[in-house]
């Protein structure tokens, strides 16, 4: 009898492993205000009909990583992937609460916001170390891509051998230069998009289906 139970357990374990394969978790990383949450919301809206997080012009609006599970994205040739999307707090090496004062928040609120932001960055680094299987690295294409934090983050992601797609966001703005991003990171696919207007997001979805499988 015990052998029967053992065998049955083994079979069911095997089936579980087979059918509940660990979901691929895709982290959206990048500096503050690049448009990470705007993209997370667009992906969630396009493929599940729901929103994910709060978008804001104030940096560090996202101070906790948030995850949306079981998003199935289909490509043009009929293939698809089912992933979890993790929207992360923007990574930086410095945070000064004074910078929030410019947006009309009180000093006390700014201090709390700064503390939460520092925790958020540490949390984002943790997710990257433990729980992320692929990365969409989000850049504002009106900004200098050579910022040290981008160089470091891409290096950290590469050292973990994670597949990465670079999204060159905000191409709706006249100052946008996705080409500058391409020349900064020639080793990774770069997709120019506007998350705000939805321009080229299909290209990003197509790339995700092919790159994150």
């Amino acid at each position: 009898m015990s052998i029967f139970i053992q065998t049955r357990n083994r079979v069911s374990k095997f089936l579980q492993a087979f059918f509940r394969k660990k979901r691929t978790r895709i982290g959206i990383y990048g500096p503050p205000n690049a448009g990470k949450t705007t993209l997370a919301n667009r992906i969630a809206r396009d493929w599940t009909g729901e929103e994910m997080g709060q978008v804001s012009e104030i940096p560090h609006e996202t101070r906790r990583a948030s995850r949306k599970s079981d998003i199935t994205i289909s490509g043009s040739n009929g293939s698809s992937i089912t992933i979890d999307i993790v929207d992360t707090p923007g990574v930086t090496t410095k945070i000064d609460y004074m910078e929030f004062l410019e947006y009309g928040v009180t000093r006390d609120e700014a201090v709390v916001r700064a503390r939460e932001a520092t925790e958020g960055v540490a949390e984002a680094m943790h997710w990257l170390r433990e729980d992320i299987d692929g990365v969409i690295y989000m850049l504002d294409s009106t900004e200098d891509p050579f910022m040290q934090v981008n160089i470091m983050m891409i290096g950290i992601i590469e050292s973990r051998n994670l597949p990465v797609i670079i999204a060159a966001n905000k191409i709706d703005l006249p100052a946008a230069s996705p080409q500058r991003i391409r020349s900064a990171f020639p080793q990774h696919p770069v997709i120019p998009i506007s998350c705000l207007e939805g321009k080229n997001v299909e290209d990003l979805y197509e790339k995700m289906v092919n790159h994150f499988r």
Binding site: K94, A114, V121, M125, Q148, M152
Partner: protein, 121 residues
């Protein structure tokens, strides 16, 4: 008493004798004291990741507000498709400058030049 800023240049030999945690602790202790740290050899990606995390943990209102860090080579020295072919990770970074964010501004960076502007407190 002369007003000034301390700059520590840490040799590659010295860095080689230190563990990751010793390096990061030294950098943060120095930088929080207002010292500019120059490493002859850059940190590994793993160490950079830990440095970011520990920097965040030590930020305080009206106190330490983080670090400024710059390293070369980077610009115009990307590994490109060769890296993809060989599956090698990015070349190790060489000289690295780290300082307190409220005093150090990196104003120009090139393939082989880092220009930094330091303010007295």
């Amino acid at each position: 008493m002369i007003e000034g800023i301390q700059i520590d240049l840490i040799s590659e030999e010295r860095l080689a004798t230190m563990t990751s945690m010793e390096k990061i602790r030294m950098i943060l202790d120095d930088v929080r004291r207002g010292t500019i740290v120059i490493l002859e050899k850059g940190l590994a990606p793993e160490e950079q990741s830990t440095l970011i995390e520990m920097t965040m943990r030590e930020i305080l209102p009206d106190g330490f507000n983080g670090i400024e860090i710059e390293t070369y080579p980077s610009r115009a020295d990307s590994p490109g498709f060769l890296k993809r072919l060989l599956g090698k990770s990015a070349p190790e970074s060489r000289l690295t400058v780290i300082g307190p964010a409220n005093q150090l501004r990196m104003i120009k960076k090139d393939k082989d030049v880092i220009s930094a502007w330091i303010s007295t407190r």
